[in-house]
């Protein structure tokens, strides 16, 4: 494995010296389909070798953004650069990118070898060179025994791997992934997640990856771009988004189970969410203005504490390693996640306290972070 890895890196560095740095720069990109305004001024800087994940609910424009980087869609306005080159008017084949599709898009009438060799053959590379590169990629991905087969004879995971192989034989400047794992079952998805991440770290190729699954985004990305309705809500490292979401949307989207939001009023150094529900203010909230607001706290940041607020357990879900409890107080319901087994049964009253270091305050109308 080590030797293969070095061989593979060798072929890259050699090519690399002759190319510019493969950063991707997206400047104020707009995309309209007729009346529908899918991208409304999107700007992202992706550094050379970075693994960036575009994440958001369906219809947020993340796939469209990826397809504009690929050149499959034209931008309505704005600029896309790969390296130093503006590629707005460059066709996909001349952008030096490779893409892995959700359906894998393997050519059904070609063998696995032919699938992987297709791009190189079209470029007119010598046969022997093509064979060596396909076999090298096949070795890295463990596809050697499958080269003579056809896509329909392969399992989902194997097809996924072939799609990746087809991308890496080309040694592109940028990898684009469009929800590559969503057709796999849960177990395989976790395995492939690790495999893709490892491969990217080994090849050091700039990667843009689209998913709607925030766990995929959190576990794989160097940098996450959270999108909604054609605009970017926040860009940042996974744990930064988790610790300091810019707004209520990002706060609710990142993290699982998702953050609890309680409406109420912040005054006199505490947060009041209805009759008698008083939650502690965050430690750094000294400068935070008083007024109506939304209090955000993640389920895992509650602990059982005698000093806490009294709530009624409604649903108790023990998973073995942790316990999720849905609780009710006043008119509000929220989730608590305890990292241990807690002897609580549904209907019992318990006292829970949020960690004052880990609570957030959002504006009630704009959803922006105010704390």
């Amino acid at each position: 494995m080590e030797a293969q890895c070095r061989a593979c890196l060798g072929w890259r560095t050699q090519d690399r010296e002759t190319l510019f740095m493969a950063s991707v720069t997206i400047r104020d990109v707009h995309k309209k389909f007729g009346e529908a305004h899918i991208l409304r001024g999107v700007s992202v800087d992706i550094a050379d070798g970075e693994f960036v994940i575009l994440v958001g609910p369906s219809g947020c424009g993340k796939s469209t953004l990826l397809r504009t980087i690929a050149g499959l869609e034209r931008t309505t306005a704005g600029e896309i650069r790969i390296g130093e080159r503006v590629v707005n008017d460059v066709s996909p084949k001349d952008r030096d990118i490779a893409m892995v599709f959700q359906s894998y898009a393997l050519y059904p009438h070609m063998s696995i070898y032919e699938n992987m060799a297709f791009a190189l053959s079209l470029r007119g590379e010598p046969k022997e060179e093509v064979r060596q590169r396909v076999e090298r990629a096949a070795q890295i991905l463990g596809l050697m025994p499958l080269l003579e087969r056809y896509p329909r004879q392969l399992s989902g995971g194997q097809r996924q791997r072939v799609a990746m192989g087809r991308a890496i034989v080309r040694d592109p400047q940028v990898f684009l992934f469009d929800e590559p794992l969503s057709n796999l079952d849960a177990k395989l998805r976790v395995a492939m997640r690790a495999e893709i991440k490892e491969l990217q770290q080994r090849l050091q190729t700039t990667t843009v990856y689209v998913t709607h699954d925030q766990i995929e985004a959190m576990t794989m990305a160097d940098k996450i771009v959270v999108m909604r309705d054609g605009v970017i809500e926040q860009i940042g490292a996974p744990l930064d988004l988790y610790d300091r979401p810019d707004n209520q949307f990002v706060a609710g989207f990142i993290g699982s189970p998702s953050m609890n939001f309680l409406e109420g009023r912040f005054e006199n150094g505490a947060f009041r969410a209805g009759e008698g529900v008083v939650l502690p203010a965050g430690k750094q909230w000294k400068a935070t203005p008083e007024g109506d607001a939304v209090y955000g706290v993640r389920p895992e940041h509650f602990r059982i504490d005698e000093a806490g607020i009294e709530v009624t357990a409604v649903v108790v879900e023990p998973t073995g390693s942790e316990t999720e409890v849905l609780v009710r107080v006043g008119g509000a319901e929220f989730n608590c996640l305890f990292r241990s087994r807690v002897p609580v049964r549904a209907g019992e009253r318990i006292r829970v306290l949020p960690d004052a270091d880990q609570v957030h305050l959002f504006d009630r109308t704009t959803g922006r972070r105010v704390s």
């Binding site: 397809r67 996909p92 990118i97 297709f118 080309r170």
Partner: protein, 294 residues
Amino acid sequence: MLRIWRQNQSWLTPLVLLFLPLALFLMMIVWPIIQSIVISFYEWDGTGPATFIGLDNYRELFADPQFFTSLKNNIIWIALFLLAPVFGLGLALFLNQPLGEMRIVKSVFFIPLVLANVIIGVVFTWFYDPTFGILAIVMRFFGFEPFAILSDEHFVTFGIVFAALWAQTAFCLVLFLAGLSQLDGELIAAGRIDGASGWTLLRHIVLPQLRAVSFVATIITVIGSLRNFDLIAVMTQGGPYGSSTVLAYQMYDATIFSYRAGYGAAIATVLFLIMSIYIAFFLRHTLRREQRGA
């Protein structure tokens, strides 16, 4: 009774459901074929008593120059008719653009499909008419002396095939448009990223996906060319001097106009053999391809 039914339902049900179509198929298709083959060994005027004459009909047929004219014309028909899938594909690729106006253009191209062959024949007969036909007018405009295509033994078959091709192309066009609408967009995108465009994209990515449609279009076109006789009947009745006859028309002519049902059946049998050989060859070819991949 009910118990027997329950126990054997799994194989009795398909049998019951198959009975009617199978009976119809045997009665309407298989039995007439057998009957035709049997009749081909008889001298029979279609109504009176039939006399068994063994292979005499076939001996006469293979000595009949008209048979070879028909055979030659059939080959011309097949060769030219195979342009229909090609033209159909070309037109379909052109019409398959996401423009609203294309819908109108498409429906114009569909027109031949709704016309009966007989009407197409009549219209083209006028079209070729040397006195008032559009073709004659166009030729005169360019300074050529118009001639009667359908009365010229060298051009008559081409004239009829052209009319038939017009309708057949529309048919293939519809098939290919349906095929194109089923294309996998992600495959096309993958091809474009892999560096295919224009001709290479068509050849390596689009055409392989249209293989099933092309197969159907080709089979139907070849069979259509072999069994076509209505256009000939309307436009020339096989003339002049039998020069535009094909096997199917010769069979019809011998049976209906010359009262030689036995001889007609012999022609039908030969035609049947040609078609069977062709279809068997084509089926084997595609089945093998399908086994290999795709």
